[in-house]
Amino acid sequence: MSELKPMSEQAPNSPERRRFINAATATAAGLAIAPGVMLYEVAHGRPEEQAASSAVRWGMLVDATKCATGCDDCVSACSTENGWTPVAESAHPKQAPQWIRKLELQDPLTQMETNLPMMCQHCAEPPCVDVCPTGASFKRADGIVLVNRHTCIGCRYCMMACPYKARSLVHESLNDTQKPDVPRGIGCVESCTFCVQKIDRGDGTTACVEACTAAGHNALVFGDMNDPESEISKRLRELPTKQVRADLNLNLGVRYHGI
């Protein structure tokens, strides 16, 4: 629920303040660590015993003007990294999970075509988290929306609540085909995790972004939206972007340019 507050009350949570704190800690850490360590690593890699922090907010910029028609490199990269069967290879396409998909849009009047990847938007105010009866659907401190499969009972209320159709139920047994880093299982709901296993390893990026960059499209940028010096923050300052269904005011972690 978003509440209207006078400006002064917003100060503790304002992006400016958070950016300042973030920059300050980054600098302090940078000073403390021996020379030779890149500042980039300080910003993204956190020690394994340290919990994810709300000083960071992971986000993604999708530049739909650069997203190539017919290219689904991001989708296959996600499938490879996270171990879900590509829909084309599934025996039950309607029941197959899809963490990310390419969406083709067209304006019926002007014939203008746009295409873009659609996945979990990692809302700051996620409806799926609001409706989950057991709290299995949750938002991590660094803004990543996840499903805790240990408490998910498969009620699918989150799938009813998500405005982006981002979630899938695993309809059949996976027979030990899961990746060791990415547990997934029958009867539980799942969706894009911003490659949380890579984030926690310190990669600071996701499989889809790596694939898009490797293919030379550069339509995807991933990073810390709270860090004013990150590439994504710089790009977001310059490019006009939109949130999908901005009317719902969910404060999304994925921003689109060219829609």
Binding site: D73, A77, L146, D176, P180, G187, A214
Partner: protein
């Protein structure tokens, strides 16, 4: 009410497992009539478990549950008590898994104690390295060469070396 009964049953099951495991661990005990003792294969990798063996036999579920909550909710992915590391050391040399056949490390004791393992509906029973050879992933593995993900390679190389030895 049903939940209370279920909880009692679960508690009973835990007590029984602990008792059974403790009993199974003691060498001088006579064999139970009919029930074959669980096969406990020594871990392939490493000399000593992260905690004393006796402690782990009784408390591995507590250790795992604690680590699980920290890892999933807070993102604290320390290696010491992670299920992935258990699997890395204890996967069988023949099946490459901790739960693929009846003599594999986890299954062997759990079936002896008649306690259902819920882990492997979701978690892979195999260490990292072997997963790339899985048929499902092999179909999409063509993608890997496109990516120059060095961090990835580093982790798997470490683990592969460990498992191979």
């Amino acid at each position: 009410m049903a939940s209370k009964i279920k909880r009692l049953l679960a508690l009973g099951a835990v007590v029984l497992t602990t008792a059974a495991l403790a009993w199974a661990g003691a060498d001088d005990q006579p064999k139970a009539s009919g029930a074959p003792k669980p096969v406990i294969t020594k871990a392939v990798k490493g000399e000593q478990c992260v905690e004393p063996t006796d402690y782990m036999r009784r408390n591995h579920m507590k250790v795992l549950n604690h680590h699980r909550d920290e890892a999933v909710i807070e993102g604290v992915r320390t290696k010491k008590h992670s299920l992935k590391e258990c699997i890395n050391c204890h996967a069988s040399e023949t099946t490459g898994s901790v739960a693929a056949s009846k003599d594999d490390f986890c299954v062997s004791c759990h079936s002896y104690a008649a306690v259902k393992i819920d882990c492997f509906d979701c978690h892979s029973t195999k260490p990292q390295a072997s997963s790339a050879m899985h048929p499902l992933n092999a179909e999409t593995a063509h993608y890997k060469h496109k990516l120059a993900a060095q961090a990835n390679a580093k982790v798997s190389a470490e683990e592969m070396a460990g498992i191979a030895q």
